[in-house]
Symmetry: C2
Subunit: 306 residues, 2 copies
């Protein structure tokens, strides 16, 4: 790539989209954010996505840069090979051929990817996992999802649904999960599950961050709820390690902001569970909420190499 | 490869080794079996392995064939990249540089692989998974282990320990596993776990095959034990599918010989658990106990292409 070449990168979420112009070496030259307003329906969202991408390409040209490709990351089930957002509840997409729509509108080669896999790609190549060849990136927020990145490529599976670590069974007969089954990791250890569990027991609406604070302050109920979540998380990560065998596990998403209050007990609980597994390094994500957008840029750059 | 070219393939287990001369197209030209006698210690076993391989290469030459490479599959933790059998309880190996030892002794390029990953490779390329790009091969016998094969290559992980599906938690607080933790899939659903469970409840030594027979004949205790194992297996396979997202799950090992008595209820239980996951085809292994040896041949052939 020449020094004036940039890619247009978008990470589309249910509430907002993070957008950037990114150079071949990963440098962000310009960043902007826009609301998604998913409630307007999928057609309107697609129109906004394409409009924002077009605007960014125009901005690049106005700045004397040359937009050479587009990368778009979207949540849900994504068929990367065919460039289709198969199913994305947050954004309201169902079988949207977003790659071709963007290519047609902007006249630029476009790559479509999964938001967590894009975030994992960025963390594995530019962030907290950059010295490891095998990385598991786990995003813990409202839900829990993972990306398994080997040699700089995120596995997407046969149907674009790999890495659904939020929906592995950790507590048979446990709390109901949004997916319809009981006892999924997400139903016990996501930020929303922790808040929900404490709120139900204490009778007061409480966020996971507040539970972490109260547990750290020595409140017994909060400490119990926090420990239960940490143990379920350790069970889930141990299962991930048994199947993937990575060098480094990178934790991102809102819950990872709890810092040592999460990482210290989680490392101890994970260590306890390592028998057949090789113990991975457990580290916090380094790129914050820009990981998905940077990963979308990497997908665009990778597609140009092919 | 020329038509006279063959590879020497060995699948080394705790009790016996399966050995063959295999052509580039996967045709087995000659097969033999030898006892391993692991009790003699690792040095003696290595000597037998190398002697058998040398004998096979000599037999090939005597038959007018040209042995061009060697493939050896071994159980345990295998470092494929460095050609080292890191840890293999069944065979008594601990950090044995088997690839280099074979290369030195036979003067032929040698590939070392993991037995279940080799078996999975063979099933994915030549056996029951040959029409799928993403295959999970699960061997259920004394233990439970898996190989994740994508585009004809088995993932080995960062430390040669990927695919340890026998050691994922399915029953918190459940039966103790040989690995030292309670509730692993292997501790509930392996052939030995099924036999052990029924034997303890019935007070009579009984094998998993007999439990399957008695369950099919309508004996309530056997039916309960069998159903518990099938449900745990479905939980484990659902977890594998959530993380790997494959097209086809191939079940091998002794337990798969139960046929419809295993596959019918297991398919139903797996179907019930599919929410976020895409449902995989569930099929029986096609290559029997020769899969590991054929896989060792494939590893040898692949190493020549590099």
């Amino acid at each position: 790539m020449r020094s004036a070449d940039v890619v247009v990168a978008l990470d589309v979420g249910g509430t907002g989209m993070k957008c950037a112009l990114v150079r071949g070496d990963g440098t962000v030259l310009h960043a902007e954010r826009h609301p998604t307003d998913a409630g307007r329906g999928p057609d309107a969202v697609v129109d906004t996505v394409l409009g924002v991408a077009e605007g960014l390409a125009g901005k690049a040209r106005a700045d004397g840069l040359d937009p050479v490709a587009v990368g778009i990351a979207v949540p849900g089930v994504i068929d990367e090979a065919r460039g289709i957002a198969v199913w994305s509840a947050n954004v309201g997409f169902r079988d949207v051929p977003l790659r071709d729509l963007a290519q047609d509108r902007l006249g630029l080669p476009t790559a479509l990817g999964h938001d967590v896999r894009a975030g994992g790609l960025a963390e594995a190549r530019l962030g907290a996992g950059r010295d490891a060849g095998h990385v598991l990136f786990v995003a813990i927020g409202t839900g829990i999802a993972a990306a398994h990145v080997v040699a700089g490529t995120a596995a997407f599976g046969a149907h674009g649904a790999a890495g659904e670590i939020g929906h592995i069974l950790v507590r048979p007969g446990g709390p109901p999960c949004g997916c319809g089954r009981p006892g999924c990791l997400e139903a016990v250890a996501s930020a929303s599950a922790i808040g929900r569990r404490y709120s139900a027991l204490a009778g007061v609406p409480t966020s996971a961050a507040e539970v972490a604070d109260r547990a750290a302050a020595g409140e017994p109920l909060a400490a119990d709820v926090w420990r239960e979540a940490v143990e379920a998380l350790a069970d889930g990560l141990a299962t991930g390690q048994a199947l993937y065998d990575v060098e480094t596990v990178v934790l991102g998403g809102g819950l990872a902001r709890a810092g040592a209050r999460l990482f210290d007990p989680l490392r101890a609980a994970l260590h306890e569970r390592m028998t057949f597994h090789r113990e991975p390094r457990l580290v916090a994500a380094a790129l914050g909420d820009e990981a998905g957008c940077l990963g979308a840029a990497l997908l665009a750059l990778d597609s140009m190499e092919k």
